[in-house]
């Protein structure tokens, strides 16, 4: 969930853009949910276009492919090309915009001259002005339709992805992301502590040293794990630097967000703004419907009210990541009651 409006961010990173893509389609579907009669068709086309492109990007991230998925990757752009006209009028380059503005600027003085001589009454003049404006708009649209196009190289490059998968395998393997990140880690972080005077050698040696240390530590860790004979100080040092050999994380549902001030039914009701009677009623209903016979709770409100109660507001649900066997995404289900999401006011920006 992005914390800012789209236009507030000037520089996007890959991960941010990916997260944006996740909610984009849903948000757009909501924004276009109530079309007028005249809007049904364009809205539908716009949604389809976005969906096709987004599905395509999702499939480009797959780690393994079948002939079917590659076929999808080839069909989706094709169908997009059939539908893309809907966006043509917004695919206006800066040069086009300038051209249209210039045309208008040229025509305007001529028109004013012409109008002054023809129109005497204000009403007539206004009508002529309106006509002119419509004419201007028409001209602009004609110009845009004639000149705008989707001919940029990135639009074409996606048509090669299918072939590439046949030839080399999945696509995320070849991302420039690693190289771009390495630029920060290996060069910028090496440049900063250098004395900036002929820094190339310093950057290289600083990175080389760090790299050598890391490899050395990994080797020692491996030796220690395979119970080799290591000097006492080495073992001691390893004990300090070693990131404690973490047990493989357990993937089960976890409850979090414990509220300390809630101890009984009365507190519980106050925190959630529900009357204690309703809570007791719901408890009993739940126990009758979902619990086994021997484990049902006593259906006496007085006893129920005296029972200790905990209020937990968050459930962490591990979901197996797509095409992975041991990588989990943790989805968080939160109950915020009548509070605000992340304590932020609701936003009303369209994009």
């Amino acid at each position: 969930m992005p914390g800012k409006a789209y236009r507030e961010v000037t520089q996007w990173q890959e991960k941010e853009m990916r997260n944006l893509g996740r909610c984009l389609l849903g948000v757009l579907a909501v924004a276009l949910r109530q079309p007028d009669n005249s809007q049904i068709h364009p809205f539908k086309r716009a949604l389809t276009c976005v969906r096709l492109l987004y599905d395509f990007t999702m499939m480009a991230q797959y780690r393994s492919h079948t002939a079917e998925t590659i076929q999808y990757m080839e069909d989706h752009p094709e169908r997009f090309h059939e539908m893309k006209d809907i966006f043509l009028e917004f695919k206006v380059s800066k040069r086009m915009q300038a051209k249209a503005d210039e045309l208008r600027r040229e025509l305007r003085p001529q028109r004013t001259l012409l109008n002054q001589s023809v129109a005497k009454s204000t009403r007539k003049r206004r009508r002529i002005l309106e006509q002119d404006r419509e004419e201007e708009n028409d001209q602009r649209m004609a110009l845009i339709n004639a000149e705008s196009h989707f001919n940029f190289v990135k639009m074409h490059l996606i048509s090669h992805l299918g072939d590439h998968i046949y030839q080399f395998g999945n696509i995320p393997m070849f991302s420039t992301e690693y190289g771009d990140l390495a630029h920060k880690e290996q060069i910028k972080d090496g440049y900063r502590p250098s004395h900036t005077n002929n820094p190339a050698r310093q950057i290289l040696s600083s990175y080389g040293r760090q790299h050598a240390f890391r490899i050395r530590l990994l080797n020692l860790e491996f030796l220690q794990r395979s119970r080799a004979d290591l000097a006492a100080e080495v073992v001691e040092h390893l004990g300090e630097t070693l990131t404690a050999p973490s047990a493989p994380p357990v993937y089960c549902r976890m409850l979090k967000g414990h509220r300390k001030d809630v101890r009984g039914v009365a507190d519980f009701g106050r925190a959630l703004k529900v009357s204690p009677e309703t809570i007791c009623r719901e408890f009993i209903r739940y126990s009758r419907l979902s619990l086994l016979l021997g484990r049902r709770i006593l259906e006496d409100p007085a006893i129920l009210r005296s029972l200790p109660i905990e209020l937990l507001r968050q459930l962490k649900i591990p979901v197996l990541a797509f095409q992975e066997l041991n990588v989990y995404d943790i989805q968080r289900a939160r109950c915020i009651g009548d509070g605000l999401f992340r304590n932020q006011a609701s936003r009303n920006d369209s994009v």
């Binding site: 976005v50 990007t57 090309h81 989707f150 190289v153 990135k154 074409h156 090669h160 420039t176 950057i203």
Partner: protein
């Protein structure tokens, strides 16, 4: 993937801006790039021709020949390295006005052919207008491909897809602009 930092390459000196200096600057940049690639490919020449003996898993030693199969770079970098215009596709000869039509059945680029053209034009001793036009539509700058003439390198296959720049920061960004306009 592991990325190892081996060398930092030189940055050509920057000249003050003027049209004459710009041409010179471009020449200097191209020469620097050429020199750097000569340096990088220096050990490549012998290994590709003679092969290197490598131990196999079955205990036998085999003569192996390295093949350069990919070069990970973004669009502008690829364009510079391949000596093509930034609007040209590095894999096929798609003309600029068909980039956005979904046509993907064009011939793959053939740099040997371009070189042949170039030589023919030189022997005629004048660059005819036809040749200039065809260079323009093909989007090539002749003689600037740093991979040309190297052994076991197929230049059009070097281009690797780049999800970060083509899709997330490219298409997605365009799409957001369209959607903003649409809304």
């Amino acid at each position: 993937m592991a990325v190892l930092l081996l060398v930092l390459l030189p940055v050509p000196p920057k000249l003050p801006k003027s049209s004459a200096a710009e041409k010179l600057q471009r020449q200097i940049n191209a020469n620097t790039l050429w020199g750097v690639f000569e340096l990088i490919f220096e050990p490549w020449k012998d290994t590709t021709l003679l092969g290197v003996p490598i131990d196999g898993a079955d205990g036998k030693i085999r003569k192996c020949f390295p093949i350069l199969s990919g070069w990970i770079a973004d669009n502008m970098e690829t364009a510079t390295l391949h000596g093509i215009k930034s609007y040209a596709c590095s894999k096929c000869e798609v003309p600029p006005e068909e980039l956005g039509t979904g046509a993907n059945r064009h011939w793959a680029r053939d740099y040997a052919r371009y070189d042949r053209y170039e030589r023919e034009n030189l022997s005629l001793d004048s660059e005819s207008e036809d040749a200039c036009d065809s260079y323009e539509t093909l989007g090539i700058k002749t003689g600037q491909n740093v991979f040309q003439g190297r052994e076991r390198v197929s230049t059009p296959d070097l281009h690797m897809p780049d999800l970060l720049h083509t899709i997330y920061l490219g298409l997605f960004k365009h799409m957001m602009d369209w959607i903003q306009g649409f809304l």
